[in-house]
Amino acid sequence: MSQTETLSLIHEIESLVSDQLQVVSYKWLSRSYLISSDEAKRLLQEFVQKHEGGLEVVYALSGWLKSTHPSYHIRLVAEPKLAEAQQEFDGHCSVQVYSVQASIPKDPAVLWNAEFIQAEELFKQPPSVDNCLRDNRFCGISNSFVRRNVEGQPAASATPQIKSLAGSGPTKSNIVHQPPKNTVPISIAKVDHTSQNVVKQVNSEINGTGNTGVHDNINKPTAEKEKTLPVPTGKKKGQGDKSSSGTGGSLASFWGRPSTKPKPCSVPAENSNMISNPAEATENAQTCAHEAVDCDSGDDDNQGVILRRSSNRKRRVVFDYSDEDEDIISLASPDVPSKQSPQDSMQNDKKSLEKTTLNFDLQVEHKPLVKEEKATEKKTTEKKVFLPPREDSSIMSKCTSNGKSSTEKLQSSAPEICVNKDSIKKVSPGEPKRRKVMKTRIDEKGREVTEVVWEGEETEPKKADTDAAKKADMGAAKKADNKASTNAINSAPATKKPPATSNATGKGGSKKAVNSKDPKQGNILSFFKKV
């Protein structure tokens, strides 16, 4: 074969192996390009020498084994194990390139899949067509008396020869009858269409009846094809899914990290968060279910009673229909359930009024004034305050039937908002200390408004970034509040507040750390110099 031909063939092999990821075996090569098996092996050898690395080579070793019962053995070995396998042979063994491929397939059947399909196609060609398998052109064994009959009718004269060939078969047969992986040494007939049934080849060399041999196997190759083809696509799909979920999910995890997570405070942000985050959404559903259960049990003691979660989570939820902030009880520490002292409700009223001013920094200063006003108002409003919860209980039940969270009822704000907040909070275990609080206040027009508010956010619901400082302010404001109120407050509020502030500062701290003010984080500029 000329040099140019060799080169072009090597290019072909390269594109087959690296682009189409095909297993290129010498048999396949020989039949595809109508070259002899020897030539094909030589080409593959040359190809392997040129392209070391980036591809996997399977060698065919043949020789006598070292065992006590010497047997002729042919074995396919991947490149890394070549030396090891050679040790098992007695003396010299022949080492030839069997196939090259981009990677060693998991299923060894893939190794001869390509050539099997090829053989099948060759035999499917109409009988009048001559091809390399039918005319036995590259076979090392040939019989000049045997002629191919294009019509496919076995010539009478051929039969004796078949027998004689078959007779010589047995001597070879121990060589040839190898597990399907093994190749036939070149010196022996290379005409094996299907490296699996070698004896039949002998017939097929002689006339077209070889077809039957292949037909026996036809089911197999197609089945094989079906098996092997879907696998890659399936995998691809799986991979695609993975990658897409990987990218989609990584964002979620990014926000989901307790330390980096900014507190979701603005309502729209939370909604979008929930939508974009399926993982959280499912958890929502779960937590909602929990809530629904809780709700059932809690409906009885509707007012001012704390619902207790069965779970160990330290979240606290306060259903406080008299809407007092100050009176929040941690679920972790079962506290006095009924805290509906008139004083508390007074405080609430004050608070809620303050809220309407929306100016929280000023809250503390305003408070004394407000309180006095309210002290008078309170008693008048108090009764009203109690009523709405009852009405709301219908809303509550609606909520639960929606599968959404349960116990909150809002007159003025959308229930879903609360639900989202609620569930989002539950999702992050790192933030156990959030509180949900019912608040009733009188708005400017004199209407009663009951809302569920997340404590800690209520002061600045619009600001997405609640930093530690602000929370601390808030906590301080509340404390001031407490003190200012003439009535003694339960110990509960006092204990609660510290967690709220510490929580906030903790978050602030970790945020900073993530902002790479971490002293341990190296700087890329210390590695690469400016040009």
């Binding site: 990658s243 897409s244 990987g246 995890s253 993530v514 190296g522 110099k529």
Partner: protein, 266 residues
Amino acid sequence: MLELRLVQGSLLKKVLESIKELVNDANFDCSSTGFSLQAMDSSHVALVALLLRSEGFEHYRCDRNLSMGMNLNNMAKMLKCAGNDDIITIKADDGSDTVTFMFESPTQDKISDFEMKLMDIDSEHLGIPEAEYHAIVRMPSAEFARICKDLSSIGDTVVIAVSKEGVKFSTKGDIGSANIVCRQNTTVDKPEEATVIEMNEPVALQFALRYMNSFTKATPLSSSVTISLSNELPVVVEYKIAEMGYVRFYLAPKIEEDEEETKPQV
């Protein structure tokens, strides 16, 4: 005059999606060899290097070297207006302060022009030396993304340790710790599914997962990712862009405490 025509427009979209989280503004450098970008994140901890070679474009004309400062978020916004099958052409005139993105639908029945204002950016171009890495790990990119994502739910940092055993990703957090070990695996049907570990000497380095997670935004660009590690160098996370180039992310390791202690003594 600059005119780059990219038939596979979705590629550019993916590139932008992969780097815009890390870098806000950056200079795109166009030369006769290709379209490239190098930029650091605002905290100077990570660096991204992008190269799209001129051969990957259907048509590439760049009369003189040109550096175009762009806000990557704005650029991504414009590229989002291109369909996934659209052909994207980037055009700019010498001395102009705008760049034009032209999107052609595959059937040529819709052509959109988006003109974006350029900006002046002080570029700090860094020289990245060629280096021998102690360990190079190639693995499926989706697998890597999954690992980073999973670990970031446990802790803030990941220790990537390459040994004879394989590559180990480990983290620790308030709720516990996690270790993921990937072994070399080349017996797969497709080479991109293989996990290949080349190791000259064992390496263990600690990195902020936050950055790793933003690197994995490039996962759609390539089915495999190459992670190169050396003890005294930033890690390189490389996503090859088929037949065109690459996106490489460099991330400075976290300095381990005992190292800090030993250094002063020396």
